[in-house]
Symmetry: C3
Subunit: 133 residues, 3 copies
């Protein structure tokens, strides 16, 4: 069994944090040559996504578009005032899966794995697990 | 192999139904100590998501926000009239994956697993499968 | 280990392409009786989704609704002009998982697996992998 947890501190209310280096390191340390690597987000106001990492503007555009799409000032009932963050969490999803081939993560050329902060700044944890097969 | 199906009857056109207890029971009964548990939704007008289960208002806000975001009266071409439900299905997704550790589901403190009904009331089935590893 | 890649040429800027037949064929050829089949999209302006395949109008409605929801002419910062495609990619997701039972894909009655082109026409590749268990 290879599994573990990444801890990160977010700086803004909403931002994407690239966790690819930590996940790649975990894959190499696991010694698993072929299989799948899963990252899991245990929070309900943060998500996980895979998207372009080369141009940081893509990350900013993603946050901007989600803020345009999800109603921010709808008469929500949840008293904590962070319902838009809960909605964005469901839109992005709670886990991502990437193939492991030849002992490394098989990401596309431009792909990076991002933790999506929607209600920060906070300390967040992301769990990972590598399944041979 | 540990796998099975949960059957549930939805009561409203759109609602979230907490299926965490049934999935947790399946994990315990499987005897699998370490691995992943997958829930799969075989329907095209219902989804699966993981979000906050403590305050039922979060579930209502999620449905309300999806109804604000997805055009409900767009000139859709699909004659059955339930295209918004198909769109919400793609936004939420067809499966969720949760880690199994020490024989139990490793959900976050506030997380619950929900079947998302978008075109009810109906009888829905959710398949689950537990993979050791 | 059973894994491989599907290559497809998209024809329009935005469209859904049914890849169920290719994935089903891969499952049969793998000889795996019980497990999970994953499809993975390595692109950042294309996604994967599972939805209704019987009526092609559902596919057209999905594209139309995403174009209504995601701001197309927002003052995005990413200079390539395809930020809406990046947003749609995050909304649909980078992978789908389907159970394998009795040597075949356990899809729902109306479900098909689609590659979602959001910035075509292009040549796209989809990786698949079958995990017994």
């Amino acid at each position: 069994m290879a599994s573990g947890t990444i801890t990160l501190s977010t700086k803004r209310q909403m931002e994407l944090i690239d966790i690819t280096a930590e996940i790649s390191k975990a894959v190499r340390a696991s010694g698993v040559a072929e299989g799948i690597c899963l990252a899991y987000n245990p929070h309900t106001t943060a998500g996980l996504t895979i998207n372009e990492g080369a141009d940081p503007d893509v990350q900013r555009d993603l946050i901007a578009a989600l803020r345009e799409m999800v109603p921010l000032d709808y008469p929500y009932r949840h008293a904590e005032g962070n319902s838009p963050a809960h909605v964005m969490t469901t839109l992005t999803g709670s886990s991502v899966t990437v193939f492991v081939e030849g002992g490394t993560l098989k990401l596309g050329t431009w792909q990076k794995i991002f933790c999506c902060e929607f209600d920060g700044p906070r300390t967040r944890t992301i769990h990972w697990r590598i399944i041979p097969g």
